[in-house]
Subunit: 466 residues, 2 copies
C-alpha cells in the first residue's frame, strides 16, 4: 500500500489492482440504494476529485462513512480499478476509510458543496482555496509563475530581487505607502515642528516600492540580462477590478537591447507562459471555459498562434480617428489612450495582440529614451484582445546629457538620481525592459475578471483581512 | 556574424573560425610590446571574461582601443579561436571593437580594476554587481532560487504568494513595520485622543508581515502541498551580519505531513539546491573557495553526501552538558540554544547537519503541536556545520481544543485567530512546514559571511539607500 496523490492515480502511475491510499477532503458523498457509497475526494493535485466506491460492509460504514460531508478530511485506501464513469480514467474500490477531521456543524459549513458567488468567497479567503474555482486559479497561477522563471532561466537571465522598502520615490509614480516604526501616538518632532524621520528606523522617510525597474537597471548594466519577480505596491484609492494595493510584477531588463528586442521578448514570454498553461493545466482551463469565460481556451490558442501586430502611437491615433467609431473619450495626438481605444485596436482593428510604440514624451516617464523626432519616446504597451494593456515597457535613456535634460524638464533634482546617473557615466549601454502585472496575466488566462480573485489574499482600500 | 554571450563561446557553441560579436564591459586591458592589446570583456553570463586579442591595425586602435579602461562598454567582434592561455577554452581574434560607453574620469571610477573591501562596495550598491564577487554571488543566488522553485514544482507543490501587508500581528514575532498613508504631519485623531486608523488606507492598523506561514496553512489545508517564496520583514534594531530588515523566505507547508516528513523534505531541498550550485556554478564556487572561504566547495560536497543526524532537544541538552566544553551561555533544559551550542552539535559532535527536534513548549510559538509529554512541541531546527541554524519548522497543532488551550496559556485572544481556528473546525489535518531564510542559504553556499552582501540592496537600521 502506498500513499498516492489523486493526479498520480489519474495518470496511471499506480497499476490496476494495486492498493493505494489517497489523502484529501470529501467533495461529495452519494449513497446508492444498493448499499454502496461514492466518495469524491480531492487533494489539490488536479481539478477532478477521485471517486471511491465504498461498500457497506466496512466497519465504520454506518457510524462514520454515512456521516461524511463536504470538507471532511479522510484517508481512503483501495484498489485501483478502471473507471466506468465517463471522463475519469481510474477510481478506487475502497477497502478502508479513515476519517481524519470532521466538519463542525455541516449545515453552516461555509464551503458546503453548492455554488457561491465569487464576491462571497472573497470574504472567506481562508476557505476559498477549497472551491473548484480558486483551486483551479491557484494551479494556473503556479503554472504561469513556474513558466516565467523557467523562460528567463533558459535564456540566461538572472533573477534579481529588488528592494521593497525604498527611501526614494524615484519614479514619482502615484501614491506610496509609508513604512515606519515611529510611535504614531508620540511622534518625534524637529525644532521646525516637522516629523523627525531621522529618528525613524531607516533614518529617513521610507516607502513601499512601486517598481523595481531603476534598481534592476543597475544589475542589467553589470550582468546584462536580469529580471525581477516580486511584490509591488500602489496606495491608490481605487476600487476597480484591475487594481490591487499589493500585487506581483515581473520586470525583465536587458543590456544592449532596444525597444524592438524587448517587444520580441514580451511576445516570446507571453506565448511561452500561455503554452505552459494550455499544456499543463488543461482540465483547469476547461473548467474556466465552461463556467467563467467561454473563450478561455480559444483565445489563448489564438494568442499563441498569432503574430503580434506593431504600430506606432502616431499611426494608432490616425486609425482611431478614422475608424468611424464613437468613443467616450476623444482621440487626439498626445492623449493617454484609454481602455476603449486599446481594446478597439487589439480586438477590432488588428484582431491580434498589438505592440503600440513611440508614445508622446509628455505622457511618459523621464527615463524613457527620447526619439530623434524630439517629441516621442521609445516606449511600448502590449495590448491583448479581451483585456487591453498587459505589458508596459521602454528603451531607457542611456545618454547622460539627454537624461539630465529630461530630468530638468520634469522638475526633478539631478542629485536625487545620482546613482541612476552613474550608470550613464560609467560604461553606459543601450538597454530596455518592461513590466508585467502578474495578476493581470492570471486574470487573462483564467477569465476570472476581478484580480482580487486570482491572488490568495487581496489587499485593497479598507481591505487587509487575513 | 552573430551576437554571442561569453558563456556560449566558452561552451563551444560557436565553431572555431566563426565570427561572433560579444557585448559587455572591459575588465582589463593589457598592451604587449609587439603592438597587440588584450581586452578581457565580461557580460555577466559566467565568471570569467573572454579575452580578445586586438591587433594594432584596427582603425580605432590608437584613438580608442588604447584608451579603454575598466568599465567601458564595448561590442567586440572577432573570430573564435582556441585559447593558448590556461584555463580558457576559446578567445577572440578581434577584427572590430566598437566603443559603446566610456568611463567618465577613469582615475576616479569607483570600480576600477583593483580589490575593494566588501564594506566599501556596500556603499556602492549600484555599481558593485560589476565586481567579480558580487557577480558571482548573483549567479549563485539565481541558481539557488531557480533550484528551489524547480524542487517544489517537481514534487507537486503549488507556489502560494502570501500577503506582505497584514492587519494582524498573528505571530506576535518581534517588531513590525507599520504601513500607512496617513498624513504624519496632520494625524487624524479619535475623540479619545488616539490615532484614528479608521481613516487609514486599510481602515485599520497595518504592518509588514514577519512570516507567511499562517496564511500558507490555509492553502495547505485545501491544496495539500504549497510553498511561499517571498519577502519578509523584521523591524529589529540589530546590526549583525545575520539580520536584515527585509529578506526573502521560503516556507513550504504540507498537509498530512508530520515533523519527520518535513525534516526529510528540508534535507532533500537543501541537497537539491546545493547540488544545483555545485553543478551549475562551479567557476563561481571556485572563486569563493580561492578568495572568500577555503572550504566553500568541500563543505557543500560533504553536506550533500552526508546523512542528516537527528536528535531530540532533550538529548542534545545532555550532550552539551556532558561534553566537557565550556560555553559562554549555560546549558539547562529549557534554554533557547545559542549559536555556540548549535555549532558544537553540528561541527564537533555530529560532524554533519543535525535536525534537533521536540523543543520545550515555553520557548516556541503557540501553533506548534504539543507532544504527548505535555512539555515539548513538535518543532525542529536544522543546524548546518559552519553556520548553525538554517531552517526552523514544526508540526502545526491541528487539534482545536489543544490550540485553544495554547492560545489561552499565551494570553492570546481566540477571536483574533478566528480564521486560523476555522482550519481546525473544518476537515482538520495533521500538517507541517518550515521556513528557510534565503539569504542565509546564499551566504552559506558562497561563504560570504555578511548577508548584506548576498542581497542586491540590503535594508538595515539607518540603511535604505538606493
Amino acid at each position: 500500500m502506498s500513499i498516492a496523490t489523486v493526479v498520480s492515480v489519474f495518470n496511471g502511475e499506480h497499476s490496476v489492482g494495486s492498493q493505494v491510499t489517497v489523502r484529501g477532503w470529501v467533495r461529495t458523498r452519494r449513497d446508492s440504494k444498493a448499499g454502496i457509497s461514492f466518495l469524491a475526494v480531492y487533494d489539490g493535485s488536479c481539478f477532478n476529485p477521485i471517486q471511491g466506491v465504498v461498500p457497506n460492509n466496512l466497519n465504520n460504514y454506518q457510524d462514520e462513512i454515512l456521516k461524511l460531508t463536504a470538507g471532511c478530511s479522510v484517508e481512503m485506501t483501495g484498489e485501483v480499478v478502471e473507471s466506468q464513469g465517463k471522463g475519469q480514467t481510474f477510481e478506487l474500490q475502497v477497502t478502508e476509510v479513515k476519517v481524519v477531521g470532521w466538519v463542525d456543524d455541516p449545515d453552516t459549513y461555509p464551503m458546503a458543496a453548492k455554488r457561491h458567488s465569487i464576491e462571497h468567497l472573497r470574504e472567506l479567503a481562508h476557505l476559498r482555496p477549497r472551491t473548484n474555482i480558486i483551486g483551479a486559479v491557484m494551479r494556473v497561477r503556479n503554472c504561469l509563475s513556474q513558466a516565467i522563471h523557467r523562460f528567463y532561466h533558459e535564456r540566461g537571465f538572472l533573477w534579481a530581487s529588488t528592494p521593497l522598502i525604498t527611501a526614494s520615490d524615484c519614479e514619482g509614480a502615484g501614491e506610496m505607502f509609508r513604512v515606519s516604526t515611529l510611535d504614531m501616538q508620540n511622534l518625534p518632532m524637529t525644532d521646525k515642528g516637522e516629523v523627525d524621520y531621522d529618528k525613524d528606523f531607516f533614518g529617513k522617510e521610507a516607502f513601499l516600492t512601486v517598481s523595481g525597474q531603476l534598481n534592476a537597471e543597475t544589475y542589467a548594466c553589470a550582468l546584462s540580462k536580469v529580471y525581477t519577480f516580486g511584490p509591488t505596491f500602489r496606495a491608490e484609492n481605487s476600487n476597480t477590478s484591475r487594481h490591487l494595493a499589493e500585487f506581483w510584477m515581473v520586470e525583465p531588463e536587458v543590456a544592449f537591447a532596444d525597444l524592438d528586442d524587448v517587444a520580441g521578448l514580451a511576445e516570446d514570454m507571453l506565448k511561452y507562459a500561455f503554452n505552459a498553461a494550455l499544456t499543463e493545466c488543461r482540465e483547469d482551463l476547461e473548467f474556466f471555459a465552461q463556467r467563467v469565460e467561454k473563450t478561455a481556451i480559444e483565445r489563448l490558442e489564438a494568442f499563441v498562434s498569432s503574430d503580434f501586430a506593431q504600430v506606432d502611437y502616431t499611426d494608432a491615433i490616425q486609425i482611431l480617428k478614422n475608424c468611424g467609431k464613437k468613443f467616450e473619450f476623444d482621440v487626439e495626438w498626445g492623449i493617454d489612450m484609454s481602455s476603449e481605444h486599446e481594446r478597439f485596436l487589439a480586438e477590432e482593428h488588428f484582431k491580434a495582440p498589438v505592440v503600440v510604440k513611440n508614445y508622446p514624451k509628455d505622457i511618459k516617464a523621464f527615463y524613457m529614451r527620447l526619439n530623434d523626432d524630439g517629441k516621442t519616446v521609445a516606449a511600448m504597451d502590449v495590448l491583448a484582445p479581451g483585456i487591453g494593456e498587459i505589458i508596459g515597457g521602454a528603451q531607457r535613456e542611456e545618454r547622460l546629457e539627454v537624461l539630465d535634460m529630461r530630468l530638468e524638464e520634469m522638475g526633478l533634482e539631478k542629485e536625487d538620481y545620482w546613482w541612476y546617473r552613474d550608470l550613464r557615466r560609467y560604461g553606459t549601454v543601450p538597454h530596455s525592459g518592461f513590466g508585467l502585472g502578474f495578476e493581470r496575466l492570471v486574470s487573462y488566462v483564467t477569465g476570472v475578471s476581478n484580480i482580487r480573485d486570482v491572488i490568495p489574499f487581496p489587499r485593497a482600500p479598507r481591505s487587509a483581512n487575513f
